[in-house]
Amino acid sequence: MVDIEKANKEALDRLLKARPMLVGLGKAIDVIPGMKKNMILHAGPPITWDRMCGPQRGAVIGALIYEGLAKDEKQAEELAASGEIEFSPCHHHQAVGPMAGIVSPSMPVYILENEAFGNKAFATMNEGLGKVLRMGAYSPDVIERLKWMENVMYPAMDKAVRYLKKIDMKNIIAQALHMGDELHNRNKGATSLFFRTIAPAMVKTSDAATTEAVLKFIDGNDHTFLNLSMPTAKVSLDPARNVEGSTMVVAMARNGTDFGIQISGLGDEWFTAPAPVPPNALYFPGFSKEDANPDIGDSSIMETAGLGGFAIGAAPAIVQFVGGTPQDGLNKTLSMYEITIGENNVYQVPYLNFRGTPTGIDIRKVVEKNIPPFIDTGIAHKKPGIGQVGAGLVDAPMDVFKKAVIAFAKKYS
């Protein structure tokens, strides 16, 4: 039998060696490998139109309207159901998307490059909170915003980034963890740092009006950096894929219907189970568990990379937001050390004497100790277009790890 310990060490090393840089932006169709004119990327494991949850359908409708492929909801639904549109998981195209995670051909995306391994990753720009495409909203104002982002924000951002040549993501994230971010549900610190980096460059490369508008937009959206922390995690994790004999998790993703994981030593196979509804979530006024859509989005890539819920001990504000004490947060992080292969060498939890965040989920430990990885996530309304209804902590479903363990034993013995 293969030496799992050695393989896991190798996989983790690759993850820790990553040097993720933001190097520019581009149109999905031009830069994302395998992207097609009639293709729409979505969050989570593979799924067909008929099984998609409300928000994801809504986002698809919005995307089709945005692309001009349909003029209204009805047309869009027909088209989506017709089979002419090809649906494919972001993860199959080196991409990740929050919530519905919809990426359509003409959407602008960040381009992340891992200088240590030369691989790339992609993600759209964050539209802000409330009525947004990623929550399944497709009303005219949503489409309008997307157009503005494409026509105004994208060129300005691209110019600014290319002027700076590259922006070191690891550096920003490491600092943000010391500013109370865990980089999944809270990106305030990181967004501010990113703002400080990008602003001077934009002033240099774009006209005043554009610069003001774009910077205002970033300033008004604490989640701006989420769409950068996610591809950062993705671009750092991908080199750890396909390490023969490794039981390390390289992707956790949800499409609002299924929760899926991929294991380094098991190629591109997905192990899935029904996505759970966050049980102990905090809902915004006027909403309740009844309104919540099951867990959705590629954002659990953050936990896969040892951030998000795994680093919640560094983000007391979030713990309080979901109704816990700072000690609860530390305890959550401490329990994740029991299912990870190692600790991060750059990302730290200040309140644990700057101990590295628990990194590299080992399916064996998850199953043996019966401790599910836990994810610190936003919650979408199950009806398309209403938007985020809350945030909470959700345990990954144990079944996906059990299935993976069984498959692993089959393959390697």
């Binding site: 039998m1 799992i4 039981t247 064996r364 199953v367 043996e368 100790k369 019966n370 401790i371 144990m398 059990k402 363990v405 069984i406 692993f408 034993a409 089959k410 390697y412 013995s413």
Partner: protein, 58 residues
Amino acid sequence: MRKISDLFKQELKVINIGLLSFKESLDDVGVKVIQVDWRPPAGGDEEVMDALKKLLGK
């Protein structure tokens, strides 16, 4: 080579897996003890247990 009698020369330091009362009575007499919040492996799922044992090299 370790000997059982070596234990008698050390300060007793206990890890308690299971009944909490055993920890509390040791706290009572000032013995250093730490409680494990134990859960059955694989939630008791036999098929998974077997697969797991292979992976853990058992």
